[in-house]
């Protein structure tokens, strides 16, 4: 049984639009001009859905044989018959399958990234020549706030350098560690690439004993020794690349990125804590200072504090739990010099 209805036809060669009658036969669709002349005959199997507007009130078709030709079926009954015969016109099923495929691919790719990126970054970090790291470190340092006003108290620097040399030797690294004290109030310290260690004045002010400061420095030395910083930069480049690939400049990629970064940081902190204890012990310095220092920071809601980059968690304090006996980190005179390293 043939169904027929009104429509419009453009043949894809010119922009003429002709009112037509669309007649649906058993396996082809006839496009007839108003005088009955046949303009085109499209096999049903060749039909392509262009669009459906108004829930089928306007079905727009093309054909594989002439993809630029357009047929608009304005008859709801004819449209319904066509859709019933050719479920493909009502896209949907395969789209849903495609979607599931994409989701599976995304989960798989991000899974691979979460597992492989830390491994790869660890490998790659050891391949970066130390001279590059050193230059990187200087570059990062120059960009820090307060870097131009680095505290230069000579006596204090001498004492810090001696302490750092002891810790460096104990860490087994042949790196030439250098400490930079910046006149900033937040209680914080950081390891930059290439053995540059930054300590903010706030951390020196806050340390009650030289052993506490030694603990903080040992923690940062451990970060350097384990190449955490370089590893992190490699990782950040990787995450940046991934989020560029999948997220573009949009915001959707950013969420997962923060999560990735955070989970890596926690691991690094635990590793550095454990290594710091080993370094302090090898340098014969009492190892309880770091735990004392950290537990004092816990629960102080200060922006930019030690917590934001070194979150104090119960498992960290458990790793650090002492007692770890040992000798003093420096003499009382040296400690007084360190405390006075920044001009007031």
């Amino acid at each position: 049984m043939a169904v027929a209805g009104a429509g419009f036809f453009s043949d894809g060669r010119t922009a003429a639009r002709v009112p037509v009658t669309v007649q649906v036969g058993p396996d082809a669709l006839d496009i007839l001009a108003n005088d009955g002349a046949s303009l085109a005959r499209w096999p049903l199997a060749s039909l392509l859905a262009v669009d459906m507007v108004g829930g089928g009130a306007e079905l727009r078709l093309s054909t594989r044989d002439a993809p630029d030709a357009r047929l608009t079926v304005c008859d709801a009954e004819v449209a319904a018959v066509l859709v019933r015969r050719l479920p493909a016109l009502k896209r949907g099923r395969w789209r849903r399958r495609r979607l599931l495929g994409w989701m599976a691919a995304a989960v798989a790719i991000s899974g691979v990234f979460v597992i492989l990126l830390p491994l790869a970054s660890a490998r790659l970090a050891y391949m970066v020549p130390f001279a590059w790291e050193e230059a990187w470190g200087r570059y990062v340092l120059a960009g820090l706030p307060g870097a131009v006003e680095e505290c230069q108290g000579a006596a204090g620097r001498g004492a810090l350098d001696r302490l750092l040399r002891r810790l460096g030797t104990a860490s087994g690294m042949e790196t030439n560690f250098r400490v930079h004290v910046l006149p900033l109030a937040p209680v914080n310290a950081a390891a930059l690439p290439g053995g540059h260690i930054v300590v903010l004045r706030g951390a020196i002010d806050d340390a009650a004993t030289p052993e506490e400061l030694a603990g903080v420095l040992a923690h940062e030395v451990a970060h350097v020794a384990r190449r955490h910083v370089t590893r992190r930069m490699v990782r950040e480049a990787g995450v940046e690349l991934l989020s560029r690939v999948v997220g573009g400049t949009g915001s959707a990629g950013g969420v997962g990125r923060g999560l990735l970064d955070l989970s890596y940081d926690r691991d690094d902190e635990r590793e550095a804590d454990a290594a710091a204890l080993g370094i302090l012990s090898a340098a014969n310095i009492g190892g309880d200072g770091l735990a004392t220092f950290l537990s004092r920071q816990d629960g102080i809601p200060r922006p930019l504090s030690f917590l934001s980059s070194h979150p104090v968690t119960p498992d960290r304090l458990a790793i650090l739990a002492g007692p770890h006996p040992g000798g003093p980190a420096m003499s009382a005179e040296d400690w007084a010099d360190v405390k006075a390293i920044c001009p007031r």
């Binding site: 453009s10 010119t14 639009r17 002709v18 507007v53 630029d68 230059a135 959707a252």
Partner: protein, 358 residues
Amino acid sequence: MIVSTEGTAARFSTDIPYGTLSGLVLRNLVLSILTLGFYRFWGKADIRRLLWSHTLFQGERFDYTGTGGELFKGFLVVLVVVLLPLVGLSIASQTLIEQGRTDLGTALAAFQTAILVALPPIAVFRALRYRYSRTRWRGIRPALTGSTLGFAWRTVGFWFVLGLSLGLTYPVLRTRLWGYLWNRTRFGDQPFACDAGARPLYPTFLVSWSAIVFLIVVGIAIAGFTSPDIASEDAAEPNVLVIAIVSMAFLPLALLAWTRYRAAELRHLLGHLSFAGFTFAAEVRTWELFRLALVNVLITVSTLGIMAPLATARTVSFLCARLTLVGEGDFAAISQSLAAAPTTGEGMVDAFDVDVAG
């Protein structure tokens, strides 16, 4: 129904279903998050298909024939051909500078900057060309001919001069670039022609330009006088409240002044555009355009950019409702062009986050 000639005026119209569009935008957002962003290419194609198919000219709907797969492929190509070399270039120049080979490093950095400056117009041109090639009206497609680099160096040059002239050459920039694009645009085998000059725009432009400069100067003066002594140590916080109030009052005023020019510009540019025996005419009033821009900004900002496609749709509707083609023409005489179409999507636009506007 008139078949061969279509009267003395041809019109655009839209029937965009905003509810469906919003649903689509939200669906795309959810799927993009679930797929770590991969879905956005397909989402973008779906939104375009919806917008195109609800835009009509002479009662016939436009079609968008592009696919998400093409956009994704285009993005991958740009990633490999443009983004990765740029990253490599930047690492190389930085390493060279740090190792003391400053001249070579600086030269590389300058080269990289030149590429970065030229890329946005290249991206815009290529995106436009791609979108035209995936557009059909009565099965016929528009096309953009001309060279990408020709457009890129003109754009960079005009923006450079614009900076030197404190913005005074803006109407020249707009008319020249608009003319460059439209004089290289065809629909089927019929070319568009644009003969808009900058001179008639200047009276309106100078009024808007002066108003905006005046607002900026007064705004800075007010903020400066009411802030605490800048020389003192505690000047880290200028008077935020005053700055907020001044911005709230002055930004809409500046936008209004700017809109007055943009409305005149739109009327002028479209009024000098002709095609197949028709001349375009646009009735765009300042106040209407201001309301459109203001609501669009509110929609976009209040949804953190998520609902930006709604703003695009509103702009399309706005223009379509005001655009007429006047003259005697015969669309049936327009044939399909045989120009080759690009095979992959507009990756560069995605990578550089520029959009094809105005």
